[in-house]
């Protein structure tokens, strides 16, 4: 149906702008969603009956604004009501049509509000995807493998906290900028990491990966002078480029160094390269650019047929100096092993100050297995594989580890 298709296109192109404008203008995330939903319904009715408006996006925004205003007025009237107060009469939309405002771009403000560090990371990303991107509660619940009720509660709590603690609907002051931007980037990073975990890319998580990728791109448009924003977007694109190659036909994980480079998405790799060049030109390095550079170094296997492990090990040195993490230390040890030999890698692995007990940590055991095998220490490799399998790997990784164990025992 024409009206529905036009609505769909308009929402796809301008939905986030309209939602953000409504949310910021009325300082109420809940009400903005209601207003937008109302406007969308009215659009299908009215456009179907009267034909499409000249500017569908402006139409949606105008009707949404009016609805939000009415909802706000009713709420105040309800709160203040001593006597029965009359319902406000709705203006005919023809009058609204004459009073079209351009839609202000409040998307950045909304992102900063939804990603405030006072909110828990899972709440931040859910709120951003719901409020800015308009993802349904049902879809969010599936992406996080939780129930709709639980997701709804998460969103409600977050909105309530924003309201009750009075989080400002403003772009952060310069003094707070670094910390607030870091919170936004961390939100996207954590969300993507969750999607990345599921190498199989069951539709829900592939969905989440796609949405995070899109969001990271939007941030680049909104903050083109922030190199870490560009770095994060590059990193996500590079990681996502490998999705088609990450599993074999049997559903087992394929390690990066063994993936078929022909399956990597070259468009995403090229986009990432462009972003990294722009970031480098801004002259301020940072952890996201470094992580992206590591991914990019792996991606050069497409061009050269070999992996620049020495470069990768060096990049991990830089990364660890600005953002120490046990995972990065494990990955560095693997790179060191490739560049300087298995014994060097094993020494690096043993030196890791990891979470409580290294032996109980899956990435450590998986890496130990690989490095021991490389060093010809088959019995230790098999032991590490058994430990790794006992630590509850995800299905795809489990298949891979089990197969390796089978090969070693044969």
């Amino acid at each position: 149906m024409q009206a529905e298709r036009l609505l769909g296109e308009t929402v796809r192109d301008a939905g986030d702008r309209i939602r953000a404008a409504l949310a910021i203008r009325f300082r109420d995330l809940d009400m903005a969603e209601e207003a937008f939903a109302f406007a969308s319904l009215r659009a299908v009715e009215t456009w179907g009956r009267d034909g499409p408006p000249r500017d569908p996006a402006a139409w949606l925004y105008a009707v949404g604004r009016r609805r939000a205003f009415d909802l706000g007025r009713r709420a105040k009237v309800r709160e203040a009501a001593v006597h029965d107060a009359p319902e406000p009469t709705p203006d005919p939309e023809a009058i609204l049509v004459a009073a079209f405002e351009p839609i202000p771009d409040e998307r950045l403000r909304l992102i900063f509000v939804c990603c405030h560090p006072a909110l828990a990371p899972e709440a931040r990303i859910a709120l951003t995807l719901r409020t800015l991107c308009g993802l349904s509660v049902e879809r969010l619940a599936r992406a996080w493998l939780t129930t709709e009720a639980a997701m709804l509660q998460r969103l409600t709590r977050a909105r309530r906290k924003i309201r009750d603690t009075r989080i400002r609907f403003e772009i952060p002051e310069p003094a707070a900028w670094g910390e607030r931007l870091e919170a936004v980037l961390a939100t996207l990073e954590i969300a993507y990491a969750q999607a990345y975990e599921d190498a199989g890319g069951a539709s829900e998580t592939a969905d989440l990966a796609g949405e995070t990728l899109r969001l990271s791109g939007l941030l680049c448009d909104l903050l083109p002078q922030e190199p870490e924003v560009l770095g994060l977007a590059a990193m996500i694109r590079l990681a996502e480029s490998r999705r088609p190659a990450r599993l074999d036909a049997g559903g087992a994980m394929v390690p990066l160094s063994e993936q078929d480079v022909a399956l990597w998405d070259s468009r995403l790799i090229a986009e990432a390269a462009g972003l990294l060049r722009r970031a480098a030109a801004l002259g301020r390095s940072g952890p996201y650019q470094l992580m992206a550079a590591i991914h990019a170094a792996h991606a050069t296997r497409r061009e050269t047929g070999a992996t620049a492990w020495g470069d990768i090990a060096t990049l991990y040195d830089y990364l660890l100096s600005v953002r120490p993490s046990p995972v990065a230390q494990v990955n560095r040890a693997v790179a060191v092993a490739e560049a300087r030999g298995a014994d060097a890698g094993l020494a690096a692995l043993a030196a890791i100050e990891g979470p409580a007990r290294l032996a109980d940590w899956l990435p450590y055991q998986a890496a130990r297995a690989g490095l021991c095998a490389k060093a010809g220490r088959a019995a230790e490799a098999a032991d590490a594989l058994r430990c790794a399998l006992a630590l509850g790997p995800a299905p795809a990784e489990r298949l891979f580890l089990a197969r390796r164990l089978g090969e070693l025992s044969a």
Partner: protein, 113 residues
């Protein structure tokens, strides 16, 4: 809107006299700045948790106990009650509250009546 900034510290931490003097001086400076900016509503340092007495009501029945409510490593050490326009302003004040190397400040909005 008012926010309560609740200071939790590790009472087992032995700070030197010089450290304590520095922290106290920092509190005085913070208090003065809060006053100057019209943000100070109240604030106090509390005596250590072993001076606490807790009145517990369980199932409607009250009883007295020697000691603080929770036997945790971090104990309530003091508070500031500030007037601030929004959460970020309250957090900014909270970050200025001095302490040893390990402590926490909880920022809680006060219910407006």
């Amino acid at each position: 809107m008012q926010y309560l900034l609740i200071i939790y510290g590790d009472e087992t931490f032995n700070s030197t006299t010089a450290d304590m003097q520095e922290i106290t001086a920092a509190h005085m400076r913070l208090g003065a700045e809060l006053q100057e900016k019209g943000a100070m509503v109240g604030g106090n340092r509390l005596r250590p948790s072993d001076t606490a007495t807790t009145i517990r009501t369980v199932g409607g029945v009250q009883s007295l106990h020697d000691g603080p409510y929770a036997e945790t490593r971090e104990q309530l050490a003091g508070y500031y009650l500030v007037e601030a326009p929004d959460l970020d302003a309250a957090i900014a004040w909270g970050k200025k509250i001095p302490g040893g190397p390990n402590y926490a400040v909880e920022v809680r909005p006060v219910w407006q009546m």
